[in-house]
């Protein structure tokens, strides 16, 4: 039985030694320093919090070692479908760290934060142009919050017209956040069955549209990586019944400069700046999920709105029909600086080339893999492709097994088991930043795994063995959750 290579196995708490410290804080320079003289006793901790006591070198070495247990885009190809794991430019980081941005307090008066407000105003205009929408709010913290904002604006719009619409239609191929955000906004979710290639079933849509439907929410290109070609018909059908159409912008990387949601008839779309616009994923966040809308929804935008009056920028709070605020301040500003930097780095031709090359790379991978794995749909794809491991499943090898074997071969895994409508789905999004050489290495690995499934399945079932740990007991973790470290003897 193969064994994972031995490696580092510490938590920061296990490095702790009483009396060791890494901090450097100033001496107290005011006369009264004892908190017991300043605050009533009941407000002071009875016992010190049990926190690590470590040196700075402990901290550096520990977290450097932890980082080495991760795969990142900087070290590995990350073909994670629907997530757009493209290269995150380093200049973005330098710009976000300019003291005038990084060290700026959100409640600095507007006349002392004009540079930040101007950048936000410009980014909103650029995103509006890229999407063909009339207005963009930068406030949502991530895609799911952008969805919530969008659906709440739709709700407010209908209510302002005296219409109490209660349902939102969502295809079965949608990201899980779509139904979750919609339910949070107080709607009941009606799931529509997609056609096999992920296209909207027009007959089914027609059957469900009606005066109780507030919105239809779809992903374009769809989650099988195909452009929904009947899109004009869909948005017209919806509008004829007073239904608003929402575009999940997770797949925006496919369409920059090629087509625009606003021109397709969408009323609302959100952006994931951490996908298309190169802000880093950071192990799960932060992201940024601006939301774009058409004019008729403008009264309902989240407050405050960044406005320009002559040469002055300001936050406009006086919007009586607004859906309100989504986070305490104005948006994930640090991510906005990065996205602004990226758009200015690329320019119009560069942005178009992004999508062209994303589409080219995905189709190249699809072509190279289609003899070895089942395609989920015929014809060319957009920026990502979905293949099925149903052929391998018959040999006892699942999509998850393939994902684990890829880790041993030096690649992060594609998204697995999504979209839900494809059996044993492997969703591959190479992005435009990868070279043909990398794609070839990845495809060679995938083809090798397909061969191993026939000839030596055990090597796949044993994988991964080159990672810091082997396959983990997920069931045990959920049955008896251990969610924090406890000192030995106190467990």
């Amino acid at each position: 039985m193969p064994t994972a290579r031995p490696g580092y196995d510490k938590l920061i708490f296990e490095l702790s030694r009483p009396g060791r410290h890494a901090h450097s804080l100033p001496e107290c320079d005011v006369p009264v320093s004892d908190p017991a003289q300043l605050l009533p006793a009941q407000h002071l901790r009875a016992t010190a919090a049990e926190l690590p006591e470590v040196s700075e070198v402990d901290v550096i070495r520990h977290y450097s070692r932890l980082s080495q247990m991760n795969y990142g885009v900087d070290t590995h190809f990350y073909p994670l479908g629907s997530c757009t794991m493209k290269y995150n430019p380093k200049i973005n980081e330098d710009m976000a760290r300019l003291p005038g941005f990084l060290r700026l307090h959100p409640l600095t008066p507007a006349d002392a934060s004009q540079g930040a407000l101007q950048l936000m105003h410009e980014l909103a205009l650029d995103l509006a142009e890229v999407s063909g929408m009339d207005h963009v709010s930068l406030q949502p913290a991530a895609g799911a919050q952008g969805e919530l904002a969008g659906v709440l604006m739709i709700r407010a719009y209908h209510l302002a017209r005296g219409e109490r619409r209660t349902k939102v239609l969502i295809p079965d191929s949608a990201h899980g956040t779509n139904p979750a955000s919609t339910a949070l906004a107080g709607f009941s979710v009606v799931e529509l069955k997609s056609e096999a290639n992920g296209d909207v079933d027009l007959l089914d849509l027609e059957r469900h549209l009606g005066p109780d439907v507030a919105a239809f929410m779809i992903t374009q290109p769809n989650t099988l990586g195909l452009f929904e070609s009947k899109i004009h018909q869909i948005t017209e059908m919806c509008h004829a019944q007073g239904v608003q159409v929402y575009m999940d912008g997770a797949n925006f990387n496919a369409i920059l400069g090629i087509t625009r949601p606003g021109d397709l008839g969408f009323d609302v779309c959100h952006f994931n700046l951490h996908k298309t616009f190169t802000t880093p994923h950071g192990g799960g966040g932060p992201g940024s999920g601006p939301v774009g809308i058409k004019d008729h929804l403008a009264p309902f935008l989240p407050t405050p709105v960044v406005v320009k009056d002559g040469d002055e920028y300001a936050l406009d709070w006086s919007r009586p029909q607004s859906i309100g605020k989504l986070q305490a301040f104005w948006g994930n500003f640090g991510m906005l600086v990065r996205a602004w930097t990226y758009i200015r780095t690329m320019g119009p031709d560069g942005l178009r080339a992004v999508s062209d090359n994303a589409v080219l790379n995905a189709n190249y991978v699809l072509r190279r893999l289609e003899d070895h794995y089942d395609r989920s749909a015929p014809g060319p794809c957009m920026h990502e492709c979905v293949v099925s491991a149903r052929r391998q499943k018959k040999l006892g090898i699942t999509a998850m097994d393939i994902a684990k074997r890829l880790l041993d071969l030096g690649f992060y895994a594609p998204s697995t088991y999504f979209p839900l409508i494809v059996e044993e789905a492997l969703m591959i999004e190479p992005t435009e930043t990868e070279s043909k050489e990398t794609l070839d290495e990845f495809c060679d690995a995938m083809i090798q795994i397909a061969r191993e499934a026939r000839e030596n399945p055990q090597i796949i079932l044993d994988a991964p063995v080159t990672t810091p740990v082997r396959r983990l007991d997920q069931t045990g973790a959920a049955r008896q959750p251990r969610l924090k470290w406890t000192p030995p003897g106190k467990a």
Binding site: L51, L66, T177, A183, L184, L351
Partner: protein, 447 residues
């Protein structure tokens, strides 16, 4: 083209492999009338050196906390950010990794989140903490939604001592589920407990108080807990963990949920985002929590490892029945906080609290001596306090900016009841000289 790796020759090779003549052929599914027939109207590409020059100029228009003495608070604070944080988070293996859905290739992120959860549970005095939510405001909103789900009640009472920006976010989130929100008034800067007692009922899912509250005052959390629990409601305490190295953890005072803004733990202010939403709960509520959770487990060889767990609460599995719609969180900010707490340690975090409160009290005393200036409230405060000024706070702020002082947050736009007031925050970074200079400038401005 920058960030695009394939050469024109490679592109031709790839098209040949695919069996098409051009990239256009791959876009054939897009109907002609859907196509954009012109280039995007965004500014032309800039060279890196031009871009840097441009953004340096633009950013220089902002009064940043390196060049100005920052006394601004209200949910974002200029606390010390130890140097190791930036160096470590910029390691690409952390920075450019995705959510750790493939745990074998994500043990670094998973371990650091497990450490983060442990630290937050310890600081808040709770049993469990999640892997983070967006910010303090959305954490409060999620806590109210969770209390609504747990108690199956449709109302919540929020103290007016809770940050008004957070209260606005709670209102947004409560719109869909139609949770009725009542606010409990203040008396002398802290929640009026008699009024609170009258405002709770058998319909109340949660009582929400902030500790220290928006005005810096220290609430009687224990009394609020008794009132909430007597009505069968949960007590949600909004607290900033950077203060909890010194202050009593809300878990010890009866909180059922502790939420708040963790930005003070080593996360840059960055004009208000990204921030760090902290969310901690009692053990019995863990399966109703929003957001990701990391748990310890073992691998096939029995070796310790970590995974995302209890995922059946989450949107990618439960869809419209999930406990929250959150997917992306702020893992990297949680990593900053983890490194911060490691560097500060047991002694340092306590010292941050001691220095902040000592300097805040020194400042309050100095400012209140100025004729016409008074502390707005009598209640004990921690590192933040409200001043009532004899002149327009907006104008005073404008005047002090000339002296390179960011004097505080005028409260008029946030709560009209306090239109004469300025909210002042003092962290361990402000020196006695900063405070003395502020006092002199304030005296001149109100004279």
């Amino acid at each position: 083209m920058r960030y695009i790796s394939n050469t024109p020759a490679q592109q031709r090779e790839m098209l040949a492999t695919i069996g098409v003549g051009s990239i256009e052929d791959l876009l054939a599914r897009i109907p002609a009338k859907a196509r954009l027939s012109r280039p995007l109207n965004v500014p032309a590409a800039m060279a890196e050196s031009d871009l840097i020059r441009h953004l340096r100029r633009l950013s220089a228009k902002n009064a940043n906390a390196d060049d100005f003495a920052c006394f601004l608070g209200g949910g974002s604070y200029d606390h010390t950010i130890p140097s190791p944080i930036n160096h470590l988070i910029l390691r690409g293996e952390f920075f450019t990794a995705y959510t750790p859905y493939q745990p074998e290739a994500s043990q670094g992120t998973l371990r650091s989140i497990f450490e983060y959860q442990t630290m937050m549970a310890e600081l808040t005095g709770m049993d469990v903490a999640n892997a983070s939510l967006y910010d303090g405001a959305s954490s409060v909103a999620e806590a109210v939604l969770m209390a609504h789900a747990v108690t199956e009640r449709k109302a919540a009472v929020i103290s007016k001592g809770v940050n008004p920006l957070y209260r606005q976010v709670v209102e947004t989130y409560c719109e869909g589920p139609a949770i009725r929100l009542k606010s409990a008034p203040l008396a002398e800067g802290v929640t009026d407990l008699d009024a609170l007692r009258k405002s709770v009922s058998a319909q109340t899912a949660a009582v929400v108080v902030q500790y220290p509250n928006f005005f810096g005052c220290l609430e009687d959390v224990k009394a609020a807990a008794e009132i909430a629990h007597a009505a069968g409601a949960l007590l949600i305490v909004v607290a900033d963990p950077v203060n909890l190295g010194l202050l009593t953890p809300p878990g010890a005072l009866g909180a059922d949920l502790v939420v708040g803004e963790g930005q003070g733990l080593g996360v840059p202010m960055s004009f208000g985002g990204p921030n760090l939403g902290v969310f901690a709960a009692k053990q019995e509520l863990v399966r109703r929590m929003p957001g990701r959770l990391v748990g310890a487990t073992v691998d096939l060889d029995g070796k310790r490892g970590f995974v995302l767990t209890l995922q059946t609460r989450e949107q990618h599995i439960r869809r419209e029945k999930a406990t929250s719609n959150i997917c992306t969180n702020v893992a990297l900010c949680a990593l900053m906080a983890t490194i911060y707490v490691s560097v500060m340690g047991k002694e340092g975090l306590r010292k941050v609290g001691e220095l902040s409160t000592a300097k805040a009290h020194y400042a309050a005393e100095a400012f209140a001596k100025i004729p016409g200036v008074a502390l707005t409230f009598k209640a004990p405060f921690f590192k933040e306090f409200a001043l009532t000024l004899p002149k327009s706070p907006e104008r005073v702020v404008k005047r002090l900016i000339k002296d390179k002082i960011l004097a505080g947050v005028p409260l008029k736009t946030l709560d009209r009841a306090y239109k004469d007031c300025l909210l002042v925050a003092v962290t361990e970074k402000r020196t006695r000289d900063d405070i003395d200079a502020y006092a002199a400038a304030l005296a001149a401005a109100v004279a």
